[in-house]
Symmetry: C2
Subunit: 215 residues, 2 copies
Amino acid sequence: MAETSTAVTKATSKKMRRKEAEALILSAAEKVFAEAGFGGATMQLIADVAGLPKANLHYYFPTKELLYRQVVQKIFQIWLQAADIFDQAEGPEEGIGAYIDAKMEISRRHADGSKVWASEVMHGAPVIQDYLETTLTDWTNGRIDVIERWISEGRMAQIDPRHLLYMLWATTQHYADFGHQIDTLNGGAPLDDKQWEAAKSNIKTIILRGIGATE
Amino acid sequence: MAETSTAVTKATSKKMRRKEAEALILSAAEKVFAEAGFGGATMQLIADVAGLPKANLHYYFPTKELLYRQVVQKIFQIWLQAADIFDQAEGPEEGIGAYIDAKMEISRRHADGSKVWASEVMHGAPVIQDYLETTLTDWTNGRIDVIERWISEGRMAQIDPRHLLYMLWATTQHYADFGHQIDTLNGGAPLDDKQWEAAKSNIKTIILRGIGATE
DNA sequence: GGCCTTCCTGACCGTATGGTCAAATTCAGA
DNA sequence: TCTGAATTTGACCATACGGTCAGGAAGGCC
């Protein structure tokens, strides 16, 4: 084992291909940006986590902003993926239930990414404002249409679809963004499988009953 | 005794009293920390916002960390205040309903503070970890007792109290922390009085019905 | 091997930042 | 008015940061 150990899996060959190197750096960057925020993160620290010299980072990502932008974009893609579940459902109980499941899974598996996104939005979305105005707006309006259809079909109560969506985002992402607070209140340990299941179940129970989609 | 303080925004007299100066600086710091995060905020920018020379900040707050800590503590106090409403209620519909109202009011009036708190927790609570482990833990356990009593009295469904609290925090704080995203989806304008009322009403409707505290 | 492209990296640079300090200013009370 | 403590401030400093660059190493292809 001549290779130095790093937090992120490191490639074995001396010379990396673009995609490998970029993925390695993006992964390290996501972690560091999540832990320290954009301003608090340093290229040196990202380099250390990736197990590469700092200058090598600048070879693949010329500036810190560019690296950060790619990290945020990666999250946003994953985030949007959960949308498919919503559309393919035949009713609110199935659609919203599955959406909660999917978003909770993302909160668990991609907590760092969720934090980066939250941080970005909290600071006024300086980097991804255009995404909010285009992709996210379109996505939201599409889902509002679906919910309104469900309401007009009498499959759920008359709820403001927009605020329902905010509620879904808030409750699910909370488990990623405020994971540290939740862990602390859990005695310092991360939620185990059973507790995650309880969290999902609770959210689904309350919201689905709350919107009158279950009886 | 009689303070001749007139304007909170800017100092009028050449020499300030400690409390005035500290309040002015804390207010500016809260704004800047919320917008830029701890790492992104600079003492120079806080000084500019406060309308004071940078060296003057260091006279009242020796280090950036100390200033930040005070800002976070201030938020936490406001945050805990909303707890009183919870205890004085005679049932879940009144108690949780009023708590949602109170927390939504905080999200609207102290959005910057909420963001600072969120940022702090998201980055692992390096500064206020002790608060999470003591005050917040105690507060949470106390509220869990109240909710469990309501459940045992048959006044609401059997819901995990802990996850219900997380849900209340998540949904209400979302309107502060993700306010920029919400504003963008609102056509770029902040929510007006009517929209805030709709948001509050929606949350209360869904959650109270969801936990079986209303019929 | 010879050559070219891609990749790697230590050393370096200008700038911005948190923090210091000593001299100046203000003000309450004697 | 005088005195001493509290406050204000411009100038200054050491450090750390993002970014650059020149030269070296690795590997594919003939």
